[in-house]
Subunit: 164 residues, 2 copies
């Protein structure tokens, strides 16, 4: 759907509904609040245990998923956590020897960034702890409930407009 | 739970589990991605239709919920959308005549902020459009699915550690 179509569809739905006691709004606020309340501890623990941030972790995670390297523009698009300055973060990781720049095999004028061996090693340690924290934070739901929640979120996402 | 206890509980769970194919991690990444993919259009539409931002909308929403006024510290704590500079945002809203500062009835040294009549009016127009957009964005789920999702998120939230 185009942005305008989506916006109009949204306005039309608003006119049609009304008797649902603001269910969609309450659901969105809950989704946002839950997401923030999981991000909070993750940010604190990454800082306390690895002197790292969620933006830095997210950036390294994307590079780990793309061992062939990513251009800066691709990297920015893939990042899920906003707020970090991608160029600044990358420069710092390069200075620390965790990330390196290489010529892009597809385009000699461009360059890509990728994790160094040390970066991979550091990321894996962080990722292991990170997953443990997530498992603990989500332990209020049984496996079945987690699967149900995942399925509902998938279904919700399929109907969302594409990012521009 | 204290932060340390929660972190330890998380690490213990990580050790105990392992055979769940990273379910919790996949769920968290999906929750984060869904939340971001709803925030994206909301940010664009607020900018396009009201020259506003999600942080500004969030700030005005908190003031609307607290007509008796809020101290700056209370306001910061209540905000769900990070990234906005609360003091800067408030100053701008005051300059535009949408928010006003008053002496705090509870403490003569402090002051509170609240919406002006014009601020209330502007916020209500934005809130109406905002709810319409949310209804449209969440329309991929039936009412029953939305209720189920809301209930699962509530259950998840109850087990999360308190914010520090």
């Amino acid at each position: 759907m185009s942005r305008t179509t989506t916006r109009r569809a949204a306005a039309d739905s608003a006119t049609r509904s009304g008797a649902d006691d603001h269910l969609a709004l309450r659901l969105w606020l809950r989704l946002l609040a839950t997401s923030r309340r999981i991000e909070g501890p993750l940010r604190r623990w990454l800082r306390a245990e690895f002197a790292s941030s969620l933006a830095r972790f997210d950036l390294m995670a994307q590079l780990e998923r793309h061992p062939q390297g990513l251009r800066m523009r691709e990297l920015s698009r893939l990042l899920m956590v906003t707020g970090g300055n991608v160029t600044g973060l990358t420069d710092r990781l390069v200075a620390e020897g965790l990330v390196e720049r290489r010529d892009d095999a597809r385009d000699r004028r461009a360059c890509t960034v990728q994790l160094t061996a040390e970066g991979q090693q550091q990321f894996r340690a962080m990722a292991k702890a990170h997953e443990g924290w997530i498992i603990g934070l989500l332990a209020g739901l049984t496996t079945t409930q987690q699967e149900r929640l995942l399925e509902l979120l998938r279904q919700l996402e399929r109907a969302l407009p594409d990012e521009p």
